[in-house]
């Protein structure tokens, strides 16, 4: 832990939402362009969240607010660990806890749309968790440490060595970013069968907090993606990570939603085919 990483972690807490919001804005703009629309201003996500703070908050049960706080808290912790250059596995655990609390938020309302959303979110978590765990494991086998700082200072060839893991990670990134074909639990498009899924009964400031949490999450995921390329130096790594990140938008716009069974099977197959194989052959590369 150096001053540099401390500064990075502090920057994450403060600037995380800003970067995340911008990413979301660019995402929406890109999507619009792909649909030959002009699209909203880049800052639109910020307007949305600030508006939500101006709105009244309604609740089904007061407990849901508590769970939203916990969701945000653990999300921030996860990011802080990552940007402190800390242990990736612990960061992942915190991310999982955070996800669980979001599920509990939806479950606590016990309304059918939220419930479908939360049940599907759980299925998705089960789908991506193995692959997500394999990412730090792969890094450990290559860099000899779970610590993000050590991984970033690793060998530039690590991305080649971990190509399978990277492919697997990109696959589940689609799930984590709630993009089609895996937007089973909460779609960006509210006017459909599951309404807003997970967030259906979250309103006002609670919804704003969830949104901010997602921004943090996107920055964390971007950080993970960045780690693959980090040894190449920031000038290479950041653009590559960003390009791959936004490639998800293309996937989003060119795919229809899958069923949960297919999603789980597909993710586990990918985790098995790319992740496990990669880990197994690592000693020989």
């Amino acid at each position: 832990m150096s001053y540099e990483t401390l500064a990075l972690a502090a920057a994450f807490i403060v600037l995380g939402p800003l970067v995340g919001g911008l990413l979301a804005g660019i995402d929406r703009r890109l999507t619009a362009r792909m649909q030959s629309r002009q699209g909203p201003p880049i800052l639109q996500p910020f307007y949305d969240v600030l508006k939500l703070f101006e709105k009244d908050t309604t609740i089904v049960t007061s407990l849901q607010t508590l769970y939203v706080w916990c969701f945000l808290f653990f999300m921030v912790i996860s990011g802080v660990i990552l940007y402190l250059g800390g242990d990736l596995l612990i960061s992942l655990f915190a991310l999982t806890v955070s996800g669980i609390f979001l599920v509990l938020t939806a479950e606590s309302t016990n309304s059918p749309y939220s419930k479908i959303g939360s049940a599907r979110e759980l299925v998705l978590m089960m789908a991506y968790e193995p692959m997500l765990i394999m990412v730090p494991l792969g890094f450990f086998l290559v860099a000899g440490s779970f610590r993000a700082a050590d991984i970033a200072a690793g060998d530039p060839s690590q991305v080649i060595q971990l190509l399978g893991v990277l492919i697997g990670f990109l696959f589940i990134l689609t799930i984590k970013l709630r993009k089609s074909p895996f937007d089973l639990s909460s779609s960006h498009h509210g006017h459909q069968e599951l309404v807003k899924g997970l967030t259906t009964d979250i309103t006002g400031s609670d919804l704003a907090l969830v949104e901010i949490g997602h921004w943090y999450e996107n920055v964390i995921l971007l950080g993970w993606l960045y780690l693959f390329f980090a040894p190449l130096g920031v000038l290479w790594a950041l653009p590559i990570a960003l390009v791959l990140f936004f490639a998800e938008v293309l996937v989003d716009n060119t795919n229809a939603r899958l069923k949960w069974g297919t999603t789980v099977k597909a993710s586990w197959w990918v985790a098995g085919l790319f992740g496990v194989t990669n880990l197994l052959v690592l000693p020989f590369i």
Partner: protein, 149 residues
């Protein structure tokens, strides 16, 4: 400055419309009109919506739903009635089973006439509603302050 104006999320409810107006409402979202330019999003969820757009005339069945949706929208909120049916019952006005206009059921802020209402005028209606929304937002803020102190 109020951000309500910059990000009005919309709930669209067809009370018993002939779907003519609905098609026009949805046309606003197409690349041709692209209301997302203004941050307008069509949510399917009253709990996230700021503006309720109602098309068609209300009857006894849809009245309960309409009231319910309106009640579930968190303040500040605004209502736009779209199309002749929603305004006054339209061509169904004299039918025994419809209300003559949705304003007999919930308070309406903006009336967008037409059969069907044109996308341009719908967008125009939304813009007018924004002003009302902003005003309500300020009011609400004051109320909250009073409630706190």
């Amino acid at each position: 400055m109020s951000f309500l104006k910059k990000s009005p999320w919309i709930l669209h409810y067809a009370a018993t419309s002939c779907n003519g107006c609905d098609i026009e409402v949805l046309a606003c979202l197409t690349p041709l009109y692209d209301v997302e330019r203004f941050g307008i999003i069509n949510t399917g969820n009253p709990k996230h919506a700021d503006i309720l757009m109602v098309t068609g005339s209300v009857n006894e069945e849809s009245r309960k739903v309409l009231e319910n949706l309106y009640a579930q929208m968190p303040d500040p909120k605004a209502v736009i009635a779209i199309g002749a049916c929603a305004l006054s019952g339209g061509i169904f006005r004299d039918a025994y089973n419809v209300y003559a206009g949705i304003d007999q059921v919930i308070p309406v802020d903006v009336y967008v006439p037409g059969c069907a209402a044109r996308p341009e005028s719908i967008i125009d209606g939304v813009v007018q509603a924004l002003g009302i929304l902003e005003e309500r937002g300020k009011q609400r803020k004051r109320q909250r302050k009073v409630a706190l102190s």
